[in-house]
Structure formats: structure tokens, C-alpha cells
């Protein structure tokens, strides 16, 4: 039995555009995926991420742009000549073939000798931990097992690139987490380049080297998970990745090196000027992550904070989630996430509290951007 060793290749998308009838589904998307990188395409339904994947697989051709793997231009290459493995959403295992026949199918198409094919299939089965399942039919396997077979089939011909179209969406939460680790393990071991489509941001963040966020056919941002989380390029990414409080505010000037944004009559927040290029009086959207807000019983006023009334305080296991109405009004409510350090929270609904956010954790987006998102 030989080890399966792959070497990933780069995948380059240049100015890809795709229209269905008159509607643009993918608009001017360029992404360069590194060799051996795990890149996720993340976005809501209809964002064009699956279409993009279909174009890399060759099932659709772009109206414009260029797709290449390594140095090979595959924009108009037939899907069966691309040498790009793919795992489909519902696995798409051939129901009339056994597990072994399914995995051997790509090898048969490549006129691999019988003995060699058997060795490779055995190696793949070992890799996905399905030894002994070779002669089962797909419908005799559980969802997770079918998933592994699909991965084995996609990788058996040693393609430099593996595409995955929401491969875990049909599995329950527990199994999904196990499979995430499994897929990562295989990818690390083989060094194959993975382009992974998902609408689950948590999945994208935990698995990917980099994540490409898409919305409405456009590429919003490409970056490492940590960059997307802490430095979202726009309000859409800020809102799509993790939890985010969005507040309407007005830019009222500087205070030292920091911009001051008024949220209401009495509430203001500060943020680094670098992120604000605004004129006085401009309406802006303020974005603050729940865990970047601190909430304390009233009295401990710090500059840059504001008063609010606790609407609800919920224990969610690892943390407390506190909903605070700014100024005590019912309208604007922010969510704060406070670490639960074993102790109980000294806050109950109705308490007046001080809310404070570190200026460095506050981000500003223009009003229009927020609306678009």
C-alpha cells in the first residue's frame, strides 16, 4: 500500500464575470489562491459563491475573465479534462456502485491498471478511515461515511485542487465538527489546494487559511479569519462575520487623537481618527463587537462611555449576554458579551449601567455602506 502524496497548485481567478440571462451573478471577482492553501468562499445565498465554484469545476463558463490552475489556463477547458477534484453538497455518490467502485471511478476514467487502482482505492479508504466498507453501497452508509467516500473519490486521482460545495451542510452539528477536523487533517497531509464553499461563517473561520467573503456577486474581502474578524473592510463583512452591534451616529469632532461620534443626546463613543475621514455633522455607522463592550454598574464613569439601562441579562454558558438600551430608551439596544468568570452577574434588568468601548475596538462605516449590507 502506498502513501497518497499530493502537491497543491495555485488557483487564479482573474476578473471573473458571470451572467445568467440578464442578471449578473458574479461581478469582477479576482482571487489568487496559494498552492496548498485552504480558501473558503463565504457568503449568503445568492452571493455567487457556488457559481464561482462551478466555474472552477468547469460546469459553467464565465462570460469574462480567466481561470488558471498553476500556469494552465482552464477557463474553457471541459470539466472532465480539468483534473480538479470536487465534493458535492449531497455527495453525489453513484448509487449503483459500491464504495470501492465509486472511489475507483476517476481512476477507471484515466485508464489506470486494475491492480494499481485497487492499491490506490485501499490507500484512500485507509486515509478516510473506511477500511472494510469497500463493498457497501452508498445508501448503506451514514451521512458522515458518505461524506468521507466523496472526499476519497475526489482525491483518488491526485488532483492538485479540491473543490468542496457546502459538503457538511447535510450533517448534524456534532458530526459537522468532527468532519471539519477530518477534512483539515487530510488537506494538511496531502497539501492539496482547497476551495471550500460555505454559508456558515463559523465553519469558514475555523477551517480556512483565508476566507473570501462574497455578497451579491461581488468579492467583499479576502483575508485570514483573524483579519476579517478584527479588520473588516466594510460593514457587510463586519456584520456577516461574528456578532456586531451597529449603531447610527453623527461625527461631531476630535478629542485629542480620537474622533468623537454622538449616538444620542448624551451618549458618545470615541474611535481612532485613522478610521474616520469625515466632516463634522456627517451621519456614520458605528460598529462594535459585543465582547469589546464593557458594562459596569453606574457610577464608575469613564470618558468615552455612555449610560444605558439593562434590558436583559442572559447566561449563555461561557459568557453573559447583556442587552443594554442606550440612554434608557427602548430604541437602540446594544449587546455586550461579558466573560462569566465563575461568578454571578451583579446586573438585573432595569439597572442603570455605564457602557464603555475601547476606541481601538470601534469601527466606523459610511451610512450608505451600512444600508447596502
Amino acid at each position: 500500500m502506498r502513501r497518497v502524496i499530493l502537491k497543491g497548485e495555485t488557483v487564479t481567478l482573474e476578473k471573473i464575470e458571470k451572467n445568467f440571462a440578464e442578471t449578473a451573478v458574479v461581478r469582477d471577482v479576482s482571487i489568487a489562491v496559494q498552492a496548498g492553501e485552504f480558501l473558503s468562499l463565504l457568503g449568503p445565498s445568492g452571493s455567487g459563491k457556488t457559481t464561482l465554484l462551478m466555474m472552477i469545476a468547469g460546469f459553467e463558463a464565465p462570460n469574462r475573465g480567466r481561470i488558471s490552475v498553476g500556469t494552465r489556463d482552464i477557463t474553457f477547458e471541459a470539466p472532465n479534462k480539468r483534473d480538479v477534484g470536487m465534493v458535492f453538497q449531497r455527495y453525489a455518490l453513484f448509487p449503483h456502485m459500491t464504495v470501492a467502485q465509486n472511489i475507483a471511478f476517476p481512476l477507471r476514467m484515466r485508464r489506470c491498471s486494475r491492480a494499481q487502482a485497487r492499491d490506490r482505492v485501499d490507500a484512500m479508504l485507509a486515509m478516510v478511515r473506511l477500511e472494510g466498507f469497500a463493498d457497501r453501497l452508498p445508501q448503506q452508509l451514514s451521512g458522515g461515511q458518505q461524506q468521507r467516500v466523496a472526499v476519497a473519490r475526489a482525491l483518488v486521482a491526485e488532483p492538485p485542487v479540491l473543490l468542496m460545495d457546502e459538503p457538511l451542510s447535510a450533517l448534524d452539528k456534532k458530526l459537522r465538527e468532527t468532519m471539519q477536523l477530518e477534512i483539515k487533517r487530510i488537506q494538511k497531509r496531502l497539501g492539496v489546494t482547497v476551495v471550500y464553499v460555505t454559508h456558515d461563517q463559523e465553519e469558514a473561520l475555523t477551517m480556512s487559511d483565508r476566507v473570501a467573503v462574497m455578497a451579491d456577486g461581488e468579492l467583499m474581502q479576502v483575508g485570514a479569519p483573524i483579519d476579517l474578524y478584527h479588520r473588516p473592510a466594510n460593514a457587510f463583512v463586519a456584520g456577516f462575520i461574528g456578532k456586531m452591534n451597529f449603531l447610527e451616529g453623527e461625527y461631531i469632532g476630535h478629542d485629542g487623537g480620537e474622533a468623537v461620534i454622538r449616538l444620542s443626546q448624551t451618549a458618545t463613543v470615541k474611535c481612532p481618527t485613522s478610521s474616520a475621514t469625515a466632516v463634522v455633522g456627517q451621519r456614520l455607522t458605528v460598529a462594535i463587537r459585543p465582547e469589546d463592550l464593557s458594562v459596569r454598574p453606574s457610577g464608575d464613569v469613564r470618558p468615552g462611555g455612555f449610560k444605558g439601562r439593562v434590558e436583559a441579562a442572559l447566561f449563555v454558558g461561557a459568557a453573559y449576554v447583556v442587552l443594554v438600551a442606550i440612554d434608557g430608551r427602548a430604541g437602540e439596544v446594544v449587546e455586550a458579551r461579558l466573560p462569566a468568570n465563575g461568578g454571578s452577574l451583579p446586573l438585573v434588568p432595569g439597572d442603570i449601567v455605564d457602557v464603555f468601548a475601547e476606541p481601538s475596538a470601534v469601527r466606523l462605516f459610511s451610512h450608505q455602506q451600512r444600508q447596502a449590507a
Partner: protein, 301 residues
């Protein structure tokens, strides 16, 4: 999820309007290659012969509407046309009356019993209409089963004339066509969720109320389909009337047959065929309309 939105309709449109290629559908060229054999077959084996026959009605022996005038001016032919429609209607009604209870039983009975009923429906369906017509001759002829039995019992002293009558045609044709009524109705009743019936019973509906208010209205599409099927088949049926019927029970199909095998009047046969064809198509269209209206109503309700 997204697939439904982006791939189903738009892709098809994309194919016809832009050059962009999708592998989810076959390109036009390949589609046409796949369909060419069928085109040749239907063109030569169906469209050309039928077109030619219809054309004959205007051109044989001379150009004009003579054949149609003859049809309209001869009471005999009009009577045949009327009889054909009436016989078809009776056959349809009889099929419905016999078929509905069977379909209902098949859909509502326990599985093993339903299987037996199903077998009884499928046996005639899979038997040649010729064989079934023959069976009816055996049963109805002068020295057939019915007459023998009646004579033996002393009910009659002379054999009755059962065969070669309109009644025989209706009986045999109903026998041949009932399965075509049963299967669509069965399909429609099967499609009614059992919970619906149970709910109705639960709400206090009696057997009859449940039938009249739930089963019957919801099985209407099946009834329509079955009626359409049996009616148009009865209109154009040849084998059974030709074997079981007599000169007094001439129908359109047998008349057309007569024109081609005995009098060799192709023009008139063409005219009769055209009329039969038109009646059939009009009925199909009407039924479709009725069916879509009915669907509309049940959707609203």
C-alpha cells in the same frame, strides 16, 4: 439553496441568448442529434400519413368540400357521428360508475387486499383488446354462455340476439376501457393525504360527508383524466366495435374502416377521419380547460 435560484431557469435562458456554455444542459447541437431519429420517425410515420389522409378529404376525387357536403347531407352518416358520441359518453359514464368504487377500494383498502384488486384491474389492462373482444363474443353469441345459461334455466325458449348489437358494443368497450378510468382516479385518491380524511372523521364527518366533501372533490382531477382517456379512446375505438358490433351499430371508426376496405373511397375516409380527429382534439382541449379551472378552484379553496 442557491442552486434553485441561479441554475434552474436562468441557465436555460442563458443558453439560448448568450454563448456562455453550461454543462448542466446539453447544447443545442447535441439535443438536435438526439432528437433527429424521432423527427424522422414521426415525420415519415405519423405526420406525413395523417396529413396526407386529411389532405385526401379535400382532393379526392376532386378538389373541394364535396366529401364534407356528402357527410353533412347524408342522414346515415350524421346518425353514425351522433351514435359514436353517444356511445362514447355512455361508455365513459359506465366506466366511471364501475371504476370509481374500485379505485376507491384500491386506494383505501389494506395493502394485501388492495394488491388483489390491483391485479384484477391490471389483468385486463395487459390483455390485448382483441382477446377481450373475442371473449365477449364467446359470452354473448347465439350459443354463448349467457344464452346457454338462460336456456338451461328455462328463462327463455329462443336464444336472444345479444351479439352484434349496440348494447354488446357498449358492454365490451366498457370492459376494455374501465382500467383507463380506474388508474388515474386511483392515482388522485392516493395523492390525498390520509391525515386529511382522518381529520375530517375526527371533526365529526360521517362516511358520506367525508366522501362528498373530501374524497370526491380532491379526486376530481383523476376523474377528469379518466373520463378524458376513456371518452377519446371510445370515440376512436376500432377493434371492439368491428368485432362485437353489427351493421346497425356502425360507429365512426368502423365506418372509416369500411370506406377503406370495402368502398375504397379515400376522400370520404379522409373527411370522416378529419371530423373524428377534430372532435377528439376539441374534447381534449375542453377537458384540459376544465381541468385547469378545477385546479384553480381547489387551489383557492
Amino acid at each position: 439553496m442557491k442552486k434553485a435560484k441561479t441554475h434552474k431557469l436562468p441557465v436555460r435562458a442563458a443558453i439560448s441568448f448568450t454563448k456562455s456554455k453550461s454543462w448542466r444542459h446539453y447544447p443545442i447541437g447535441l439535443s438536435l442529434i438526439l432528437i433527429i431519429p424521432l423527427c424522422l420517425l414521426l415525420g415519415f410515420g405519423f405526420v406525413y400519413p395523417v396529413g396526407r389522409l386529411l389532405g385526401q378529404s379535400f382532393f379526392a376525387p376532386d378538389f373541394g368540400l364535396d366529401n364534407y357536403r356528402r357527410l353533412l347531407e347524408t342522414p346515415l352518416y350524421l346518425r353514425v357521428l351522433g351514435r359514436t358520441v353517444i356511445v362514447a359518453l355512455i361508455v365513459m359514464a359506465a366506466s366511471l360508475a364501475l371504476g370509481y368504487p374500485v379505485a376507491l377500494a384500491m386506494a383505501r383498502l389494506r395493502r394485501d387486499l388492495a394488491g388483489v384488486v390491483m391485479a384484477c384491474v391490471l389483468l385486463p389492462l395487459w390483455t390485448s383488446a382483441l382477446v377481450r373482444s373475442y371473449a365477449w363474443i364467446v359470452i354473448l353469441q347465439r350459443r354463448g354462455l349467457v344464452n346457454d345459461a338462460l336456456l338451461g334455466l328455462g328463462v327463455i325458449s329462443e336464444p336472444l340476439k345479444l351479439i352484434y348489437t349496440e348494447g354488446a358494443v357498449i358492454l365490451a368497450m366498457t370492459h376494455v376501457l374501465v382500467p383507463f378510468m380506474i388508474l388515474p382516479i386511483f392515482g388522485a385518491i392516493r395523492a390525498i393525504p390520509t391525515e386529511l380524511v382522518q381529520a375530517a372523521r375526527n371533526l365529526g364527518g360521517g362516511q358520506f360527508t367525508v366522501f362528498a366533501r373530501i374524497l370526491l372533490p380532491l379526486s376530481l382531477p383523476g376523474i377528469f383524466a379518466g373520463c378524458l382517456m376513456t371518452f377519446i379512446l371510445a370515440l376512436g375505438f376500432y377493434v371492439t366495435p368491428a368485432l362485437v358490433g353489427g351493421p346497425s351499430s356502425l360507429l365512426m371508426a368502423t365506418l372509416i374502416g369500411q370506406q377503406t376496405t370495402e368502398t375504397l373511397d379515400w376522400g370520404f375516409a379522409g373527411a370522416l377521419s378529419t371530423v373524428l380527429l377534430c372532435v377528439t382534439l376539441v374534447i381534449v382541449v375542453c377537458f384540459r380547460k376544465a381541468l385547469s379551472n378545477n385546479r384553480g378552484i381547489s387551489n383557492v379553496a
